[in-house]
C-alpha cells in the first residue's frame, strides 16, 4: 500500500499547513465541493485532491473529470506561481482537461500555502523507521518472528499522524512487559510439554 501511504502523508502535510494559515479559509471555502486530479508522469497512479468542509482529502485514484492535469513533478513545482500557468501549457509541460478555473484556484492555494515539499516529505518519511516502530516494533516483532518487513512497510498513517501519541510510553512499557510475560509463560509451557514428551518416549 505505498500509494496509500504517500497520499496519507500528503494529506497530513496539506491539512497541517491549512490549519496554520489563518488567511486561507476564504480561498479554501471557494473550493468546497471541487476536486482536481493530477496525472504525474513519474507516478503510475493518479492523485486526487478533494475539498469538502474546508479540509482536503487526498486519494490515489480518480474522483471525477471536473479538472484533470497531466504534468510532471518539475512543472508542478512551478505551478505555485499562477502566472506561469499559461506558459507551462504553451510549452507542453502541462495539459489541463476540464475546468481551467478549478486548476487556477488550486494553484492559488498552493501559492499561498507555499509548502516546502522536499523538507516536509523527508521529515515525515524519516519518522517511520525512527519512531515507534523501533520501540514497539523491534522488540515485539523480532521476538514473535513476525514478518517484519511486511509490517514496517505498511505501518503507515498512524505512526505519522498526531494520534501516534495515543499510545503513551507507559502503555508501551506495560504492553511490552506483558508480552515478555506471555513469552515466558509460553516457554514454561513448552518445556513442560517437552519433558512430558520425553517421558512418553
Amino acid at each position: 500500500m505505498p500509494k496509500q501511504m504517500l497520499t496519507a502523508i500528503i494529506e497530513i502535510i496539506i491539512n497541517k499547513a491549512l490549519s496554520l494559515d489563518s488567511n486561507i479559509s476564504e480561498p479554501l471555502s471557494k473550493l468546497n465541493g471541487k476536486n482536481l486530479t493530477l496525472i504525474i508522469s513519474e507516478l503510475d497512479f493518479p492523485i486526487t485532491l478533494n475539498v469538502e468542509l474546508n479540509t482536503i482529502s487526498v486519494l490515489a485514484s480518480h474522483l471525477s473529470d471536473d479538472c484533470v492535469i497531466h504534468s510532471n513533478f518539475a512543472s508542478l513545482a512551478k505551478l505555485k506561481q499562477t502566472e506561469l500557468l499559461t506558459s507551462l501549457i504553451r510549452s507542453g509541460d502541462l495539459d489541463i482537461v476540464g475546468d481551467l478555473k478549478i486548476a487556477q484556484q488550486f494553484a492559488g492555494l498552493a501559492e499561498q500555502l507555499n509548502i516546502d515539499w522536499e523538507k516536509q516529505l523527508a521529515d515525515r518519511i524519516g519518522d517511520i523507521p525512527a519512531f515507534k516502530l523501533n520501540s514497539l516494533g523491534a522488540k515485539l516483532l523480532k521476538k514473535l518472528n513476525f514478518a517484519k518487513a511486511q509490517i514496517s512497510q505498511d505501518a503507515g498513517e498512524y505512526l505519522l499522524h498526531e494520534k501516534r501519541l495515543l499510545v503513551t510510553d507507559t502503555e508501551l512499557r506495560v504492553f511490552n512487559s506483558s508480552v515478555d510475560k506471555t513469552k515466558l509463560e509460553l516457554d514454561k509451557l513448552q518445556s513442560k510439554l517437552d519433558s512430558l514428551a520425553q517421558r512418553i518416549k
Partner: protein, 251 residues
C-alpha cells in the same frame, strides 16, 4: 462460513445455536463500542487506516453516488465517503448495533460531517432498503460477524444498482506460513492481552481473534460472492493476506 448443520453456527471457535449468535455478537460490540477506535489503532499499529484508504481508492466513488457503509460501526469509511460523494450524494451508515451507531454518530458530528449521512440500525441479512438503491456497498470487518453470510451477500446484491459494486474488507488467510504462525501467536496471545490491558475486556478480543480464524479464506469468499450473483469478482491481499479486499459487481 455456513456449517453443515443449519441450526448451529460458529461463534469464534465455539459452536452455538444460529439464533443465539446475533445476540452474542451484539454483546461483544456493545462491550467494545466506546474503546473501539483506540483499539483499532493499537491492535493494527494503525495499519487499518491504510487498509481503509485502499478500499476507498478501489471503490471508484464519484460525487453524487449513494453509498451504503454496512456494519459501518464507528464510521471511518462513512466519514471519507461523505466528503467524496459530496452534497449531491448520500451515505448510509448501517449497523446492527445501537452502541456502535451512537459512537459513530457522535464521532462524525464532531468532525462536522452531518449533511449527507443517515444512520440506520439494520441487519445485513435483511436490509431495509429498496432494490437497486446503491452505487457502492462496503462491509469492512463486518461480514465475519454475520450469522448467515450467504443471506447477507444476497441481500446486498439486491440493494445494489445494476453497475454497482460491493467491497468486502475482511481479515483473511496470510499468504506465507511464517506470517500465518506469527499472526496466530499475535492474535491468540497478544491480542486478548491488549484487549484486557487497554479496553479491560480480554474476552471480547478473544472472540475477535477466533472469529477472524473462522472466516472463509480468499477463494472461498470469492466463490460465495459469485454464488450470490456478483460478477467480475476479484480480491487483493493486503499486508501479506492478513486482510483481503474483495470486490464484485452487479450487472
Amino acid at each position: 462460513m455456513t456449517t453443515d448443520n443449519k441450526d448451529t453456527t460458529d461463534f469464534g471457535f465455539k459452536t452455538v445455536k444460529a439464533e443465539d449468535k446475533e445476540t452474542m455478537v451484539a454483546g461483544v460490540f456493545h462491550s467494545v463500542a466506546k474503546q473501539y477506535d483506540i483499539m483499532n489503532d493499537v491492535m493494527s499499529f494503525g495499519i487499518h487506516r491504510l487498509w481503509k484508504r485502499f478500499t476507498i481508492d478501489a471503490s471508484g466513488v464519484r460525487p453524487g453516488n449513494s453509498i451504503l457503509d454496512l456494519a459501518g460501526g464507528t464510521g471511518d469509511l462513512t466519514a471519507k465517503f461523505s466528503k467524496l460523494t459530496g452534497p449531491t450524494g448520500k451515505v448510509i451508515l448501517a449497523d446492527i448495533n445501537s452502541s456502535m451507531l451512537n459512537v459513530g454518530r457522535d464521532k462524525l458530528r464532531d468532525l462536522g460531517i452531518v449533511g449527507n449521512v443517515d444512520y440506520v440500525q439494520a441487519n445485513a441479512e435483511a436490509l431495509p432498503f429498496d432494490d437497486n438503491s446503491f452505487d457502492i456497498v462496503t462491509i469492512a470487518f463486518g461480514l465475519r460477524n454475520v450469522t448467515d453470510k450467504d443471506k447477507a451477500l444476497r441481500s446486498i446484491f439486491r440493494v445494489l444498482k445494476p453497475g454497482g459494486r460491493l467491497l468486502v474488507l475482511e481479515f483473511s488467510k496470510p499468504e506465507h506460513d511464517l506470517l500465518n504462525k506469527a499472526y496466530d501467536f499475535y492474535s491468540f496471545n497478544i491480542l486478548p492481552k491488549m484487549g484486557e490491558l487497554v479496553a479491560k475486556d480480554g474476552e471480547s478480543y478473544q472472540y475477535l481473534a477466533e472469529s477472524i480464524r473462522m472466516h472463509p479464506d480468499q477463494e472461498t469468499l470469492k466463490s460465495m460472492m459469485e454464488a450470490a450473483g456478483f460478477e467480475q469478482t476479484n480480491y487483493h491481499n493486503l499486508t501479506g493476506g492478513i486482510v483481503a479486499l474483495h470486490k464484485g459487481y452487479k450487472f
